[in-house]
């Protein structure tokens, strides 16, 4: 009998703490699949965030350091500058990268730091219970925008790929999603490309992943996946925003 689907060996046999329908589990699995397929288990060092991705060391069979909220790109910089031949990536949510850690992320990109940022954008602060994120859409209801996000009061959703694409140091920026099988395949390819480019010394890469958060969006899992296609991609269009030849 041929095995067509199995747990990647690098994904520990632990129960995810993620809520039902959450996209983090898919992203976690993709990362371990890619690292396994590229045979990088002995080289990879992951920088985990504060937020929903904070327990990555419970799931990943690779070295993991946990950074303070927002500091992933700075910690990854320190690690990479000591071990330039290792694959170093930080895993960050929208609050982590686009709000409290905006400076660290932007300047790592601007330095052309040879690291990869896996940026999970679900438009909401998940771990703390559904508050507004910098990527929350206008009119989107969260616990801190109870009547919907009002631009006059809370500003506009931050488009990280678009902003970072203006930085000369950024080498590869792509926005993908994990809401449909075809999108998941694309997301995996983007992650693999970012890692390959890092190993080739191409400089800063970032893969932004639109990810469903049904619990905090107050939707069913399927509805959340559809909402990404129908609403979220209008603010956050998918595609490659920058790819410097290497």
């Amino acid at each position: 009998m041929k095995t067509v689907y199995a747990r990647p060996k690098l994904l520990k046999e632990a129960h995810f703490h993620y809520c039902p329908g959450c996209g983090h589990g898919v992203v976690n699995r993709l990362l371990m699949e890619v690292i396994e397929e590229m045979d990088l288990a002995g080289d990879a060092i992951c920088v985990a965030p504060a937020g929903c991705g904070m327990l990555l060391y419970n799931y990943f069979e690779i070295d993991v350091v946990e950074a303070a909220h927002g500091r992933g790109a700075a910690v990854a910089t320190g690690v990479k500058r000591v071990r330039p031949r290792n694959l170093v990536f930080s895993y960050q949510g929208d609050g982590d990268l686009a709000a409290i850690g905006a400076a660290e992320g932007l300047h790592a990109a601007n330095r052309g730091e040879n690291i990869t940022v896996i940026f999970v954008n679900n438009g909401v602060y998940g771990m703390t219970g559904g508050q507004m994120a910098p990527t929350t859409l206008l009119d989107q209801v969260t616990t801190t925008t109870p009547t919907g996000r009002d631009a006059a009061l809370a500003g506009h959703p931050v488009r990280i790929c678009e902003v970072f694409s203006m930085l000369d140091g950024a080498s590869y920026l792509e926005r993908v999603a994990v809401n449909r099988p075809a999108a998941v395949v694309k997301a995996k390819k983007a992650i693999a490309k970012a890692f390959r480019r890092q190993l080739d010394g191409a400089g800063f890469s970032l893969v932004e992943i639109l990810s469903p958060c049904p619990v905090n969006w107050k939707m069913g899992p399927l509805e959340a996946c559809r909402w990404i296609d129908e609403v979220m991609v209008k603010q956050f269009p998918l595609g490659v925003f920058k790819e410097v030849p290497c």
């Binding site: 990943f60 069979e61 070295d63 946990e66 303070a68 071990r83 290792n86």
Partner: protein
Amino acid sequence: MSGNAALAEAAILSGCTHYFGYPITPQNELTEYMAMRMPGAGGVFIQSESEIAAINMVLGASVAGARSMTSSSGPGMSLKQEGVSYLVADELPAVIVNMMRGGPGMGNISAAQSDYFQATRGGGHGDYRTVVLAPGSVQELTEVVPLAFDLADKYRSPVIILGDGMLGQMMEPVDFDGLVRPADYDKSWALTGARGRPAQAIHSLIFDTRLQEEHNWKLQRKFRLIERDEVRYETYLADDAEMIVVAYGSGARIARGAIKRLREENLKVGMIRPVTLWPFPMKALQEMAKTVRDFFVFEMSAGQMVEDVRLALEGQGRIHLYGRPGGVVPTPVELYRIVSRHYHQAR
């Protein structure tokens, strides 16, 4: 050499390979020296986008097993406290330099000792301490640097070097000949990629309340060990003294000048100069209190170190305080007059 440059050179000679910093006066000579010297020494220098980024880069470099360092002054040290707390919790070595200036707020760039509490009480969130080394001369700056890296590696915890604008910017002859690079400690805990060993993690998130407390007790046991074994201080003309001045860093230099004058008038005044502000030389002060009644605390802050002196003496002796907060640096003559007055009043 300036104290700042001497400190940077001493760090490189001590095996520091990674320096991350953000400009702030009065420690810029240190950052600039690192920018000039580090690449040639085979190390890494990055001017970070903020103090917060710098301390987190230090944390990352330490995670990967390197001797790493950052430096700053008051306002920047406030920003670094988040990272210091994580370094302690993660049990990561690092050396952090604070060339103190007058505060609070923006303050100014003249020398002060206003960050004593911040340095000796932990400084960031959580229940912790960091070793604090307070050198009193440019030569001593170069001596505490290898010690700082050694203690950081030995205890897997950040060490703070507490200087001030005067010490950092004054020029004095320096001899690096005696500087021995601290031995390397086992760093099998470092993250290097899980090649030939199981994957490992460095984190301070501990969900289980009992495990969190256990981790805290582990840190506390380490702090007790440091208190037992790592106290360092120097005495000056203390053997026959009837009044002991307690002062550190630049304050101790000023006090030394004052004491020389007092001795010329046959006033029996000596000094104890804590080199480790934490752990504080509690026992040494208690011993002195058996024969000395008067302790004169002099600090370039309104009254921070005096609290440790009170804790050490536990009600023995009489404590006099001359604390001048950030702004004007007191002169030896000024201190001489005040100590002299207290000395005569005490008799």
